[in-house]
């Protein structure tokens, strides 16, 4: 719990909910007749409605990106390091919108909400949603908020994929696209990791084909293993060595299978806390959205052609030790933008933190981010 709210925090925030009645047709061919989106906003929308920023969250993220819900909160929102007064996304200058995507488990329509047509939980029957579906739903949220054009759409990882999709599908509705630690599509290795995650969830005896809620259980083992795998791959070898080394919890080995090394303890803790806060069906949907994202596929694999119509100016950022969304993949995005003579800057940040680096206030990363956003603020002032 924060003793007091830090001066550079957006402070106590509340979650809003909007109900949409207009059916949303999805990539999978199904439609959501009605749905809810929950979101938070930080800062003030200016009179010209030109200073709005959309934050797109990654796999396990949600709408609570900054500030605290109550003085009892242990931690602030997931991207509090970047959003707040005087921070790179400066809430003194921008109006920031952050939502929970469809299929999520934090309040927006998803597997753990009630299907209005049946009166029962959606569970595994919630349709598989894609990055494009999310962007379409986000555009409708923008409409309801009276935002015709975002000053910038910003996201890391899976969030960065949404930013790219925005620039492709709604070229006139964003001035800037900030794509951090992302990729134009997943590599086979990345899809493979996601498949292990899915197998871990689906083979848990408590999974019950996704209807675990009907049985009053959660596939805790599956969630734990899925999260442990995620954590290993989001860090780098170097970061893990620096953080844990071969340190033992009890100072000596005990020739057993209980937790011995610190890294095991860390992973178990991360896995267990994830069970409390996340939903298995949502996790499955998120991994599918990641796997399916491939805007170049519609242009015979030509990413330059897929990005030919974008109008937004781009900032692309990658991190040297990120092996799940490596700098090479960000360079592909940059190359495709250069092919189309688009305005783009690219920073390849030296960092040992692996993929997680995008959430960490690394000085060079934040200097780049802040400088870029200051120019955006001046432009839309």
């Amino acid at each position: 719990m924060p003793e007091s709210i830090p001066a550079d925090s957006v402070g106590l925030v509340t979650t809003h909910r909007h109900h949409f009645d207009l059916p949303l047709t999805l990539d999978c061919g199904r439609a959501l007749a009605q749905y809810d989106l929950v979101f938070e906003t930080y800062g003030e929308l200016n009179a010209g409605r030109s200073n709005a920023i959309l934050i797109c969250h990654a796999l396990s993220g949600d709408h609570h990106a900054a500030g605290f819900h109550s003085m009892d909160d242990r931690k602030p929102g997931w991207w509090d390091s970047a959003i707040g007064p005087g921070k790179p996304i400066d809430t003194n200058r921008f109006f920031v919108v952050s939502l929970n995507n469809l299929g999520g488990c934090k309040g927006s329509s998803g597997p753990n909400t009630v299907n209005p047509e049946t009166g029962k939980l959606w569970g595994p029957d919630f349709p598989i949603v894609t990055v494009r579906d999310w962007v379409n739903s986000q555009a409708r949220l923008a409409d309801t908020l009276g935002i015709r054009q975002w000053a910038a759409v910003i996201g890391g990882s899976l969030g960065g994929m949404q930013v790219m999709q925005w620039a492709i599908d709604y070229p006139e509705r964003l001035r800037h696209a900030v794509v951090i630690a992302a990729a134009p599509n997943l590599t086979a290795q990345n899809i493979a990791f996601n498949e292990v995650v899915r197998q871990a969830l689906r083979s848990d005896p408590d999974f019950h084909d996704g209807r675990y809620a009907d049985f009053g259980v959660v596939p805790a083992q599956g969630l734990k293993i899925a999260r442990m795998l995620g954590h290993i791959t989001y860090l780098s070898d170097d970061a893990m060595r620096k953080k844990f080394g071969r340190e033992l919890r009890e100072g000596k080995i005990s020739f057993g299978f209980d937790v011995e090394f610190q890294v095991e303890s860390y992973l178990r803790y991360q896995g267990e806390s994830f069970v409390e806060r996340f939903d298995a069906n949502t996790y499955l949907l998120m991994t599918k959205a990641l796997d399916y994202f491939d805007p170049a596929a519609e242009c015979d694999g030509d990413l330059s052609a897929a990005l030919a119509g974008v109008q937004a100016k781009f900032l692309v950022v990658s991190f040297t030790s990120d092996w799940r969304f490596s700098p090479e993949r960000s360079r592909e995005i940059v190359k495709a933008l250069l092919d189309g003579d688009k305005t783009v800057s690219y920073a390849e940040v030296e960092a040992h933190h692996g993929h997680d680096a995008f959430l960490i206030p690394i000085p060079h990363y934040f200097d780049v981010f802040r400088s870029y956003m200051e120019n955006v603020a001046c432009e839309v002032g």
Partner: protein, 201 residues
């Protein structure tokens, strides 16, 4: 107009308004900033130093963080630019000849500037002093320097000849970037900094 380093001022005179420019080793982005304001030039900079990346972004210059020694093929197709500029950098790359060829692959014309190792003071220091030269243009010690491929005007022109590159314009100046009649007569002896504009032969 803001104060511009004099060699950059000379280069900017060489560049036709409205053209597309790639600046290799663009530093803090002053040249591209100037070119875009004063000459309606559109372009990108390549730079490796993190602080310079931040300076470029502050100026609103489009910059790609990249190591020049990794080449340009990751990013640029043939004939993408009117000019490819490289100021005070060719002596610091691993393969200057490859770099010149790359410049003329992606650009119609190339512009380079470099410290002239044939300047009389360098010659004197080596001939009479018996040690590696140091000067205002080359302040580093031999053991701690990014400048690994120093050359003279003669050397550079010989390389251009070998690579079938046509030199279109040459200018030599001192470190204050002034020129005088002596430098025009004996450029390889009296010029401290050389500026060249060239294209495929």
């Amino acid at each position: 107009m803001r104060e511009l380093r004099p060699d950059l001022a000379i280069i900017s005179e060489w560049i036709e308004p409205g053209s597309r420019v790639l600046d290799l080793g663009c530093g803090d982005g002053k040249l591209l900033d100037h070119l875009s304001r004063e000459r309606d030039v559109d372009g990108y900079g390549l730079e490796i130093d993190p602080d310079n990346i931040v300076s470029c972004i502050q100026r609103g210059v489009s910059v790609i963080q990249s190591d020049l020694d990794a080449g340009l093929s990751d990013y640029f197709d043939d004939n993408s630019f009117d000019y490819v500029v490289m100021t005070q950098t060719i002596q610091a790359v691993h393969y200057p000849s490859r770099m010149l060829s790359e410049m003329l692959r992606v650009g119609r014309e190339g512009i380079v500037t470099f410290p002239n190792f044939g300047h009389w003071s360098s010659r004197l220091q080596l001939a009479l002093g018996g040690h590696m030269p140091q000067s205002r243009a080359l302040p580093n010690e031999w053991y701690d320097t990014p400048n690994i491929h120093l050359c003279t005007l003669k050397d550079f022109e010989a390389l251009c000849h070998r690579l079938e590159i046509d030199i279109l314009q040459r200018n030599v100046v001192d470190t204050a970037h002034r020129s005088n009649i002596g430098m025009k007569l004996l450029p390889n002896l009296l010029g401290e900094i050389a500026l060249y504009r060239f294209r495929r032969g």
